[in-house]
Symmetry: C2
Subunit: 228 residues, 2 copies
């Protein structure tokens, strides 16, 4: 995702990406322990490459490395959650504006495909995959803006947002938020930068307010973690 450009995907990059997707799709929950031996056995690689992968994920704040204790799927605090969306609100609206001013018909097609797949996944009941694709939509917009540096940051923030949603999402809002993406793609298609910027800004605000950020640090999986 944010790794350096390897022509042939290195072992650690493959493991890191697989784990990252699993986290995005909420198949790995916040707080879960990622034992080096266990992960290595699953992917058929040695602890060396697993450690490299975990370090990469730790750098993206998707896992937390505790010295001599191991790697755990990160559990963003309420403060961190607010910070992530604050950072996104600084980066994404302006980036959406740039994207709107540069979007080609092919770009629009790719975005539309993302949305279609997202709807399909949602219809199939695979909310995890739908969430993942929803995030990819944001990253794709940054890519269209031809700002790979900002795109990397946004990709990282989207990843962390996935963890934040896993922890703080309020169940009552049934309809995920597909309308926002539809409106965005329309603004991009007609190259309306100002509209895209405004839509993205409100979309992020809606996302933030749909979270329940009232203090409860997390939902610990076991009593021990609760009392740690």
């Amino acid at each position: 995702m944010q790794g350096q450009a390897d022509q042939r995907e290195s072992g650690s990059a493959r493991v890191a990406e697989s784990l990252a997707i699993a986290i995005h799709e909420h198949r790995l929950s916040p707080g879960m322990k990622l034992s080096e031996d266990e992960v290595g056995e699953i992917y058929g690689v040695s602890r060396t490459v697993v450690r490299a992968a975990l370090q990469e994920l730790a750098h993206d704040r998707l896992v937390e490395l505790k010295r001599n204790r191991g790697a755990f799927v990160a559990q963003p605090s309420v403060k961190e959650a607010r910070e992530v969306f604050e950072a996104r609100s600084l980066l994404e609206p302006r980036t959406a504006k740039s994207a709107a001013e540069r979007a080609t018909p092919e770009d629009i097609k790719i975005l539309q495909k993302h949305i279609d797949e997202e709807h399909a996944a949602l219809h199939a009941g695979d909310t995890g995959r739908a969430l993942h694709l929803s995030g990819m939509f944001h990253v794709e917009i940054a890519r269209i803006a031809d700002q790979s540096t900002v795109a990397d940051f946004i990709a990282q923030l989207v990843s962390r947002s996935s963890l934040i949603i896993a922890l703080y999402w309020q169940r009552r809002t049934a309809l995920c938020e597909s309308h926002a993406h539809d409106a965005l793609i329309k603004a991009l298609a007609r190259r309306d930068g100002a509209a895209a910027e405004e839509l993205m800004k409100h979309h992020l605000l809606d996302l933030l307010t749909s979270l329940d950020l009232r203090d409860q640090p997390s939902v610990p999986k076991s009593l021990k973690e609760a009392l740690n």
Copy 2:
């Protein structure tokens, strides 16, 4: 820098920080090869920890990892240089505004100390250290804004800016740019958020325009690299 919070600084973190500072201070030039054996011998550690450190630096885009070829101090392209300053212009002005609204007298003292040390280093002829301290000033402002997520991004962008300056700085501007930081600190001291935002915006613009971003990709150290 952006690593996970380790209570006791791990070996790789120590090596990575030392290398990062050396890069910030322009003691390691863009394009230089960082042999694992060599670095390991210097710091008295094995290649295992050196590799971890290099991977961390690669994630921050300070070094470039070429598969089966090794690690090299990064040589940001002109496009990357523009992207870095574009990202900074998205993040730093608003962050400076937040910092101004939150700055305590102690914060101002710390910032002033940074400036003083910077001036002292400059006076002592240690331009490398002055440049490093100048970057730390920007990171410190983000820290004052109490936005650690954004602060991490800014820290990474400042690091990369150091490399960009090493490659594209125009020598003719003698006076580094100390006035800008002085003006900023004054705005922060009187809690003038709007002024701080505007000052930071122009400061970054000045920095960008003081670079010579006309295409020459770099100054290769040897003929071979030139023809690679």
